[in-house]
């Protein structure tokens, strides 16, 4: 796509703003200009964006910046939180009637995916031991009835149809009778696609609602919808009183800003996300995933989250100080491993860092190897971990047995550990200096990095410095 990723643009904007302890207006304005463009490019409605930006600005100015984050990242964190909130907190459920059958009615523009979604929902419900009936209420579109019948056959779910000469209102009425008579507990009414400004057809939907008294009226919205999504959603909602929304075609590469627009103008929850043409491509809607998709910066967001959740800055600084004095114990090693671990697969974390993408795949990080090394360290006693000099042959043997590794592996690890310790003694400078030096020296062979095929790990300063690895 044409647009530069928001992550990159923000990075540029924030480079200027490093080192501030509080979020001031300059930072917020700088960040929000980029956020605004990103939201517009994602098709979030102009007015919705405007309100949103104003609200975030208000909340962000004056906030303390978390220790592990830069001010810019702090703004993004707030943006994300607000976005998730606006998108609707928890995953919404379908309302089931206490007096079956539960009636669910679909509505939406032409081609949005109503008929397909009707099939998917029916399948979803059968998995929950419901007995759904699909109702062919589209008497206009060529072969619409047949389309639903084909799906019914595929899914082995009954379809109620009266041809295209009976009004949808009458079809709905008889379908519900039919469901009652046949002990079918959910009635799913497919309807014809229609424009929200088509008064006659909107009136027809109102009449169907009158007769069917649906427990759910779901607006089916194409995730690729542009700015007009607000008009469509507002109109359907005010005429029909929707209970929820289904967002379709999310398997595409659209950013899906329509989701935000629809939620903002109707206030109704997005209940399902449709992710494909097949009948099982229906999922519960996740507001948080949608938020980062719209922002187009899932990578940075997840890094922020992980960093804030897992890295204890104070601890890190302590350890850094100790290490500079040449102290390095297995405990410290395990600690640092654990912190990195919590952030996810090592290689993924690397991939998330700006500029590190290229390294991905070349690093030759062996996750299994990391696990083995951790197991070895964990099999040591507290005393051994604090004082590696205690590790004589019999202790090593015990450790190998305890960690399910071999003596050779234990020996190799202890050797590498000693090397690291020596190297650390040489470096007395800051992490940055260390990085430069280790680059010159051509890396430093961390215990879990195999003999890399292509590059050496170069400037990796793990595990000596585990400040969240961004600027």
């Amino acid at each position: 796509m044409a647009f530069e990723s928001l992550a990159n643009r923000l990075q540029n904007a924030f480079d200027k703003l490093r080192g501030r302890g509080k979020i001031d207006e300059t930072i917020v304005n700088e960040a929000m200009r980029e956020v605004r463009l990103a939201l517009l490019e994602a098709d979030v409605n102009f007015k919705v964006v405007k309100d949103f930006v104003a609200r975030v600005k208000e909340r962000a100015v004056g906030q303390e910046v978390m220790k592990s984050l830069t001010p810019g990242q702090m703004v993004i964190k707030i943006v994300n939180e607000e976005l998730v909130e606006l998108m609707g907190g928890n995953v919404a459920q379908l309302t089931m009637s206490h007096r079956p059958p539960t009636v669910i009615m679909m509505a939406g523009l032409q081609g949005a995916g109503k008929t397909t979604t009707t099939g998917k929902l029916a399948k979803y419900l059968t998995k929950q031991n419901r007995k759904p009936l699909m109702v062919a209420g589209d008497i206009y579109r060529p072969a619409a009835i047949k389309q639903l019948q084909v799906l019914g056959e595929q899914l082995n779910i009954p379809v109620f149809a009266l041809g295209d000469q009976v009004s949808p209102v009458e079809i709905a009425r008889q379908a519900i009778e039919h469901a009652k008579a046949n002990n079918l507990d959910v009635v799913l009414i497919d309807t014809a696609g229609r424009l929200h400004i088509d008064e006659a057809l909107m009136e027809e939907l109102k009449q169907v609602r009158e007769v069917a008294k649906p427990d759910e009226i779901l607006l089916v919205v194409d995730a690729m919808t542009g700015q007009d999504a607000v008009n469509v959603a507002e109109s359907f909602n005010s005429q029909l009183e929707l209970t929820g929304v289904v967002l379709t075609k999310l398997d595409g590469d659209t950013r899906g800003g329509a989701a935000l627009s629809v939620k903002a103008v109707t206030g109704k929850p997005i209940k399902f996300a449709a992710m494909g043409e097949k009948m099982d491509a229906l999922e519960a809607f996740h507001p948080d995933r949608m938020a980062s998709r719209i922002l187009g910066m899932g990578d940075v967001l997840s890094l922020i989250e992980k960093a804030q959740a897992n890295v204890d800055e104070e601890k890190a600084r302590d350890m850094e100080r100790q290490m500079r004095q040449g102290e390095f114990t297995f405990d410290m090693f395990l600690d640092s491993m654990q912190q990195l671990r919590n952030m996810g697969p090592f290689e993924d974390i690397l991939g998330m860092l700006p500029g590190m993408n290229k390294m991905k795949g070349k690093m030759n990080v062996d996750e299994k190897q990391i696990a083995r090394v951790e197991a070895i360290a964990k099999s040591m006693t507290k005393a051994e971990r604090a004082n590696p000099d205690l590790l004589n042959a019999s202790r090593r043997k015990r450790i190998a047995a305890g960690s399910g590794t071999s003596i050779q592996e234990v020996n190799r690890f202890i050797k590498q550990f000693d090397d690291m310790k020596k190297m650390m003694k040489q470096f007395s400078g800051t992490a940055e200096k260390m990085m430069k030096k280790s680059k010159k020296k051509g890396g430093m062979g961390l215990p879990f990095m195999g003999k890399g095929k292509g590059g050496n790990p170069g400037g990796m300063n793990f595990p000596f410095n585990f400040k969240p690895p961004f600027k």
Binding site: M1, A2, F3, L37, L40, E41, A42, D43, N45, F46, K47, L109, Q110, G111, A112, G113, T115, Y140, R141, P142, A143, A144, K146, Q147, L148, Q149, V150, L151, Q154, L195, H196, I197, D222, M224, T225, G226, Q227, D228, A229, N231, V232, K249, D251, G252, D253, T254, R255, G257, A258, E277
Partner: protein, 335 residues
């Protein structure tokens, strides 16, 4: 002579009926955009930053791409500075002219379909799910039939439930035959059959339907490339047109669609459907501006004759109809 006057004169030569239909179809679009621009110009006697902010809003909410809008606004700011324009009303013709320029096809002939008498013409329809491919084929079959041409349809969507039956209903309505196989069969094989049938039956125009597919699905795009290859192999010069069907309700993703289908399916033109809704079709401007694929037809409803050739002048005429009328009245009273 004012810009709008010239535009009107250009359109008077065109059939009244066609213009009327176009105008009606676009009534909602026109109301919204024109009212807003009018209102804007009225409220802002002086051009300032707020004026440009609001103009930006009007254009963005019409789905004109963000990039395109930013460029346009920069342009206009430049004009304002250069010509020392102070009144909003004076900027309006420049704005309209720029919009038309963005929409205008490089050559008038661009809008015409590459369909010639005396040969078999093949038109392939492609696009994402639910945009209106099958319906447009029905409408276009009707159009060609009315021109006295012999038309054949190919049911190349073998995937979606009842897609074949849907095309058959259209075939019945229009009175043209449909070449088909079973659901689930190879689309390329259906297309192959159709070309052979078209050749032996002396058909003038073969319209090929395909299944909707999202442009990021590599295997489905490859399937399309195969259909393309079969056509090219079985009939030199085919397909003569590859029409990408776009839903006017679509936002910025339409650009990605145009780009990817353009690259992997050799799109020669666009059909913009569902312009009878309130979506403003501004995406046409973005696509024209950023990708240079001409819009050839527009869909204005679900009925057989709700298809019109795209005409940028008419399009803008319809958008600005209210303004044109006002200006004409003003000129008349002045004598």
């Amino acid at each position: 002579m004012s810009f709008f006057k010239r535009l009107r004169d250009a359109i008077v030569q065109k059939s009244e009926e066609v213009t009327q239909k176009f105008t009606d179809g676009l009534a909602k679009t026109r109301d919204l955009l024109v009212e807003k621009v009018e209102d804007l110009v009225r409220r802002y006697k002086k051009i300032d930053d707020d004026f440009f902010d609001e103009l930006e809003e009007i254009l963005i909410t019409s789905d004109v791409g963000v990039n395109t809008v930013m460029e346009l606004i920069d342009d206009l700011r430049g004009e304002v500075r250069k010509h020392k324009i102070e009144n909003a009303i004076d900027l309006q013709p420049i704005l309209s002219e720029k919009l038309v320029a963005l929409l205008k096809n490089d050559e008038a002939a661009d809008t015409a379909l590459n369909v010639e008498d005396g040969r078999l013409n093949v038109i392939l329809f492609v696009g994402v799910n639910g945009v209106g491919k099958t319906t447009t084929i029905g409408k276009m079959a009707h159009m060609f039939k009315q021109q006295g041409k012999k038309v054949l349809l190919a049911a190349g969507d073998t995937f979606r439930a009842a897609a074949i039956e849907q095309l058959e209903v259209w075939g019945d309505r229009v009175g043209v035959e449909v070449i088909k196989q079973q659901q689930g069969s190879d689309p390329a094989a259906v297309i192959y059959d159709a070309v052979q049938a078209a050749k032996s039956r002396n058909v003038d125009v073969l319209l090929c339907d395909t299944a909707g597919r999202l442009q990021n699905k590599v295997n489905l795009m490859e399937e399309l490339a195969k259909v393309h290859r079969v056509l090219a192999r079985e009939l030199p010069g085919a397909p003569h047109e590859v029409l990408l069907v776009l839903d006017a309700t679509t936002g910025q993703n339409a650009l990605s669609q145009a780009k990817t289908f353009g690259e992997s399916a050799g799109v020669t033109g666009i059909v913009l459907t569902k312009l009878d809704g309130t979506a403003k079709g501004g995406i046409v401007i973005a696509i024209r501006n950023e990708l240079n694929i001409p819009v050839k037809y527009v869909g204005l409803g679900e009925k057989m004759d709700d298809l019109q050739p795209f005409d940028p002048e008419q399009f803008v005429h319809a958008l600005f109809a209210g303004l044109i009328q006002q200006e004409t009245e003003a000129e008349n009273t002045q004598g």
